[in-house]
Symmetry: C2
Subunit: 188 residues, 2 copies
DNA sequence: GTCTATATTCGGATAGAC
DNA sequence: GTCTATCCGAATATAGAC
């Protein structure tokens, strides 16, 4: 693996664990085994490194989500597959976590990958819901955009509740609850 | 207002804006107008100060939530009131925000107020749902604990989506979506 | 109780040799 | 491309006078 790649991977892991403010260039060097001079040769500084790491995390998250959302089955099944995917719940979401950081929010290079990821995800799920509605799978009262926002919010909020409780249980309850509510809107 | 109170209020505001890692004792002193020596006279250090601030934020959040949840009306109405309360969505939740911070998670003095707040909130809402179900307002298939987790997760996740989008819209969509899904489980 | 001075470590880099 | 040396300010306190 290239030096850049090792730097990016280490930065991804540290951002996930410790957030942007909590991630120091020195920690990245230690984790990656790359020296200081080398790091500053490949990246202009912390924001540059973090932006590269976030773009890669965003891309990976899209890939993983798409695998569930594009699977065969009904719209409901695919949303269920997305919600029920095996997750390391207590680690939280590598992208969602960044949204709260004021330095990330303030820097367009950092915020853009976060924003685009959730825009894409909500749009993708809204499309599925709309498709299901057209096919007569869901009742006409189910709003695609609102429902997609619920699905994504339940996952992100589930992570928050799980971390607060130091337990995956509230995450799983929220997912079950959301699927239960949605299931009742299917027809036949 | 007492010196302690000014320190606590300033710390609450800074924790909300900048998180635990991003909040320095010096910033607290500047915002509160309290000198260094004075601050260290009243609190042993940053964790002590943050714990006091979090306990107060937790108490305030419970008070505000209870006002909606204890209002007159059906269980659905009270949950709707909670979800639809006017919020400064882009600022996020002063308690939920702390859950992601590893230093908060690691220190029981800091994590406990966060944990207790969400335990209480989920329990309170689950009680309302159970009550509504007993009264015949909701159908028997609605699980109280799961539904409560959805409600709280939608709010917390809504904050994440709103920050990512730099817009309150996804928060509002998620709330509308959740209420729409829940409304269909009412009887008569 | 509050103030100012001092101490130590870390964060986030730049400089210049190899 | 990578290494080591160096720099400056911020974070988080402690010490001791008033």
């Amino acid at each position: 693996m290239s030096t850049q790649d090792r730097l990016i991977e280490s930065t991804q892991a540290l951002l996930w664990e410790r957030g942007y403010v909590g991630t120091s260039p020195k920690a990245v060097q230690q984790r990656s085994g790359v020296g200081q001079g080398s790091m500053y040769h490949h990246f202009t500084g912390k924001p540059d490194l973090a932006a590269a790491a976030l773009r890669r995390s965003a891309e990976q998250l899209r890939g993983v989500a798409e695998a569930d959302l594009a699977a065969p089955g009904t719209a409901y099944d695919r949303i269920a597959a997305y919600l029920l995917r095996d997750r390391d719940v207590l680690r939280g979401c590598p992208i969602g976590r960044m949204a709260q950081d004021p330095e990330v929010a303030a820097d367009p290079l950092l915020r853009t990958p976060v924003q685009e990821t959730f825009d894409w995800l909500r749009g993708r799920i809204a499309g599925l819901v709309a498709e299901g509605r057209t096919a007569g799978e869901f009742d006409p009262g189910v709003d695609p955009a609102d429902t997609a926002a619920v699905v994504v919010a339940v996952v992100q909020g589930g992570y928050v509740l799980a971390r607060a409780a130091d337990s995956a249980e509230p995450f799983e309850q929220a997912v079950r609850g959301a699927l239960g509510l949605l299931a009742a809107h299917r027809r036949a």
